[in-house]
Symmetry: none
Subunit: 524 residues, 2 copies
Amino acid sequence: MSKIVIYDTTLRDGAQGEGISFSVEDKIKIARKLDDFGVDYIEGGWPGSNPKDIEFFESIKSVKFKNAKLTSFGCTRRPKFTAATDPLIKNLVDSGSLAIALFGKSWDFHVTSALRIPLEQNLEMIYDSVNYLKSLGREVIFDAEHFFDGYKANPEYAMKSLEAAADGGADALVLCDTNGGSLPIEVGDITETVCKRFKTVVGAHIHNDSGLAIASSVTAVQRGAAHVQGTINGYGERCGNANLCAIIPILELKLGYQCVPTGKIEEITELSRFVDEIANLLPDERQPFVGRCAFAHKAGVHVDAVTKNESTYEHIDPGCVGNNRRLLVSELAGGSTVAQKASKLGIDLGKKSPEVKAICDMVANLEHNGYSFEGAEASFELLLKKSLGKYRKLFDLVGFRVIVEKRGPNEQPITEATLKISVDGREAFTVAEGDGPVHALDNALRLALRQFYGKELAKIKLADFKVRVVNSREGTAAKVRTVIESTDHAEAWSTVGVSTNIIEASWAALADSVEYGLLKHLPK
Amino acid sequence: MSKIVIYDTTLRDGAQGEGISFSVEDKIKIARKLDDFGVDYIEGGWPGSNPKDIEFFESIKSVKFKNAKLTSFGCTRRPKFTAATDPLIKNLVDSGSLAIALFGKSWDFHVTSALRIPLEQNLEMIYDSVNYLKSLGREVIFDAEHFFDGYKANPEYAMKSLEAAADGGADALVLCDTNGGSLPIEVGDITETVCKRFKTVVGAHIHNDSGLAIASSVTAVQRGAAHVQGTINGYGERCGNANLCAIIPILELKLGYQCVPTGKIEEITELSRFVDEIANLLPDERQPFVGRCAFAHKAGVHVDAVTKNESTYEHIDPGCVGNNRRLLVSELAGGSTVAQKASKLGIDLGKKSPEVKAICDMVANLEHNGYSFEGAEASFELLLKKSLGKYRKLFDLVGFRVIVEKRGPNEQPITEATLKISVDGREAFTVAEGDGPVHALDNALRLALRQFYGKELAKIKLADFKVRVVNSREGTAAKVRTVIESTDHAEAWSTVGVSTNIIEASWAALADSVEYGLLKHLPK
């Protein structure tokens, strides 16, 4: 089974996508996940292009990777410097990464019109930069920017740029379709020509401006490339980069290559959703292989056929990529999930029992109203307990009032929440301030519960807070979904609330979150 | 210039997509728009499969099309009927459409396992059905379901199914990749083989389960197909159908075919957004050619180069498809973006001028604090005007108070906002209720501004509201970013606010949004 090198650039080129802004902490989390998944290279950033990337390369030094090589990205030396004196090259060396991706020009038009230097000088810059980094013992991946456009304009010069890199000792020659305008047939033909000419490993780095990045990457491999660059979920500038979440399944499941360690491809759906979660982007439901709709059947004919024989309307088994079949007209899929969850609570229910049917109907109704239990298992468990008579109520809300008051254009707003709850007939009435209305309400709730459940409450910490507008077209009257994650340092759990009123939605998620945590720690 | 027939199935196969549910009026609106754009066929539905489709074919009879042929869709006769007696075939005839798409089996496995009839009988069903409809003077397009999978399993039988249709008099033989699992190279090779064998027009109908539908459709044309089926925005079951909004630009702008009447391709971005609007789906911003990000540049290097010469980082001129270039303001962008934006306001600044430098620093600082101007160009413009002394203040906030009060666990919360503003020394003090705190504040602001800017205010509508937690790990004390989109039906603009207090963040975005809209309509 032939191995294809997977080079992930989610953290560098992916971060150029509109709406994506990773913190250093986000980048480290994603890098760890990518390493665990088994990619070969993780391009971490361009050290020196901004302070965040420098901080990232510092912080990541303490992380040990199992599979991946951390890679820094930068350009060939600039005309006025030697490779050894160019501060940008020095940044790459100082980043400490053993592998370095260097991009250089391979399109004559860019050399003369953007760099404004003689063609020959650009070749020297490529050779020098690669050669210098190799002399320091680094692995060097040469990214030939605009290679396909360059080759179409001047094949001889484009080839010379690769030759300069190869002569300098480059470990891989990566052909970039930087503007994403080339067709798969062109990419295939040109890649094959390059592969025949060089002994060095050839790679492909394709952008998706024509919606062809997956096809061009796969075609490049079919015609001889052994290294593919892309991003998780196809993040990237403009229309994005080649999407590894489709390329890896195609290469492994349809063409018999090995991309990641055996068995790991089953984790690709989870990886895709993890990265969307960190990036705080709504997952693309129609995304091939890993999207929520990728194996969802709606047409009557299809649902009927697929339940008889999956291969009638599915090109692969969804389980191969860790995804699930969903039948949109039937509650069959839901029933087994509910029965499974109930059995975890010690209740055995048939997946077609009336109890399960009733819960499925309730969930369908709540989801119709904007709820989503996929990321809120604790709320789902409380709901299940309530339906099955296994729920123990810890407190009742009597009422709350939240006031946000701003007394001038430059004044900080004052926020206070008053809250009354009752526990076994005893009332607690508290008031608290906060940075915002939900924070104030959280503080008031903690104050109120302290006298009843102080010991257990001390263990629960609020870890994460997310807000999403469900039907944004309604403007400021839109429905809002709040998800809160809490932790007791042993476990994390998530809860959800939905309302047109953000305070109400947050209250629901907050109350569930605290209740779930207390139930966990109180004597049974 | 060779003509490629464009066959749109947005209204039939597209409507199988999850979350899509067109009313009869919706379908008529889209059909008119498609006809105006200039597609050759509009597949309207499967008459008889549901009451809505029958109603649609009735209603559409009164519509005169300029370019397109309205087409009805159905299957070949069933084993127990003749073509003339099968009620499903009768429905097709009764629909009144002059063109009919008939799908039939071409994969032997489906004939024996799903239909459970002898292979020969399926061929007779195809021949009879096509022949019967041709005898009634209809145009017949034969959709060979699962053709590529069928050909890979049993090429001889797959070819026989096409032969039966051709012998029956079919006007086009359409090869379907129903499960979307075939690779472009396979699709190309098989299409070429079919084209060599038949004189009839050959077409391609490809699904996107592998993310390859655009590539496979284009490859099919390059190898001999002259008819392409697809949907606007790639709607369709599972991962969707082949996306005509990418295929048409590729065929026309890159390969020199003619798909729609000359000049019409410049309307494709508007068509894409119109259909999303009717379907009530959020447009895919990263969609090739027509997406909002398709020509959006963020990386400093790219912005710099693109302002010098567009072709450096753009594969086509965005105007060719009616789209626009956008330069994103972010910490990754630099002075050129700011200078460009200023020049649009009529202020010429060098990209390295002190003013531009000061604005870049301010943006970097605000972004560090959670702002993001990428999706909030109106807020950026106001910021720019303020920095450059071009800002005209329309109102001052004196103060506001928002109260959310809940008086029992099952009571709806009561939300009210009081607001005081001043305009040229005259105060307005208002109170309003709302579905949530931001809605109440929005209502109070409109009431307050009405006496000063009533006419202009009436034009501004709040269209979209988004909330994102910036540093979610801070729990309920996290910072929140609110983005509001408003519209005056001619243009849409977005504004942003950031605070640990969601009410404060929303206020900032709301105030900017209304101010930008008023400034647009007030006399200069």
